[in-house]
Subunit: 217 residues, 2 copies
């Protein structure tokens, strides 16, 4: 691996890897992708675990380091490659953007990723109906809050914060895609839908789509 | 509220509020605490929801703004009040610290907070044994990874990163306290226990303990 080269370990369906793909694309950084098929458990292979003891994706290899956790990776990219900025300038506005991102990354996504749904399905033997209700419950609760935050603030623009994409959009768009996969009715979230539609017109977001990854099924 | 005054909305048992208490204390910032009794559902009162649409704690009021999401609040404090620093200097080391913090904040805590355990208990009618096993599963999985990250890195010092507390410790210590409440055996995590013991000697951590809050039961 040469200085400044990126290797992104991911999976086409992973929302967390999707966030990092968008961030790399927005910053114009090219990377080599390595797919780990989560449903086949490839993330638990010893070689991958030596990079990421959690056995989760994404991991970003750069300059001999293995960076983990999608938001930590994106903050790293922001610090090393500040332009175009994915966080606004003032501490107050940065707090708003990070908070919106964390509603998705801390309060929605962790409850609904593959390992959790597998625990409900296999460990607790719940039916698909129960799992679908669980999924919808946490997404609706989180999206309700995001929609209210977005509606009630003059800082909301074409995107979650102003008229260019930030970390908030980088987290929101993969969660919207995920919710669509689960056939969730999004009509009650018009602002989220509007922002998602605008983001989807940008090449950086389109190129990062799960369906555009080499490992897509 | 005067310029620069802080009002912290929390609950003595909330791990996320506990993180912000530690961060405020480490930075020597005084605040007025407002308790919302989560088990009685006080966080869903309309007045509180107008500050925080999620109906979660913590919320930090400062200069007329209501900041939400514990890690976003702590990053805000770090930007506005840089000393003592809770993040190291280089982007690479900051990524390591943020990643350790996010294992707790994204992959352990969200699965085990009150609203989720209530869903398992009331919504899915699981027994306390099932809930205890669920709790332990996610903490052990996360702590296994944190322990390995800590053991395998020369960057680990008296604390998770070097010899002074960072955001990683600010997240870890409340999760350890929470695990003790759930009677989890922590003997398999010697490095985590060692760091927790050292942190517990610092007044900033001690003052933030749930048992030292005015609303403690």
């Amino acid at each position: 691996m040469q200085e400044g080269e990126f290797i992104l370990h991911g999976y086409f369906r992973s929302s967390a890897a999707y966030r990092v793909r968008i961030a790399l694309n927005l910053k114009g950084l090219t990377y080599q992708g390595v797919a780990h098929h989560l449903r086949r458990g490839e993330q638990y292979a010893a070689a991958y675990r030596s990079l990421n003891p959690q056995g989760l994706v994404p991991t970003l290899e750069v300059n001999g380091l293995a960076l983990t956790q999608s938001l930590a990776i994106i903050e790293y990219l922001e610090e090393r490659y500040p332009e175009p900025a994915l966080l606004p300038k003032t501490p107050e506005s940065r707090a708003r953007v990070r908070s919106l991102a964390q509603i998705t990354a801390c309060d929605i996504h962790p409850l609904n990723n593959l390992r959790v749904l597998n625990y409900l399905r296999q460990g607790l033997e719940h039916t698909e109906d129960v799992i679908q209700a669980w999924y919808a419950h946490w997404v609706v609760e989180g999206f309700d809050a995001i929609e209210r935050f977005l509606c009630e603030s003059p800082d909301t623009g074409l995107f979650c914060h102003g008229d260019s994409p930030t970390v908030a959009d980088v987290c929101l768009v993969p969660q919207v895609a995920n919710a669509r996969n689960f056939k969730l009715d999004l009509s009650q979230f018009p602002t989220i839908q509007r922002i998602d539609a605008i983001a989807s017109t940008l090449p950086a977001f389109r190129k990062a789509l799960p369906s555009n990854q080499p490992d897509a099924e």
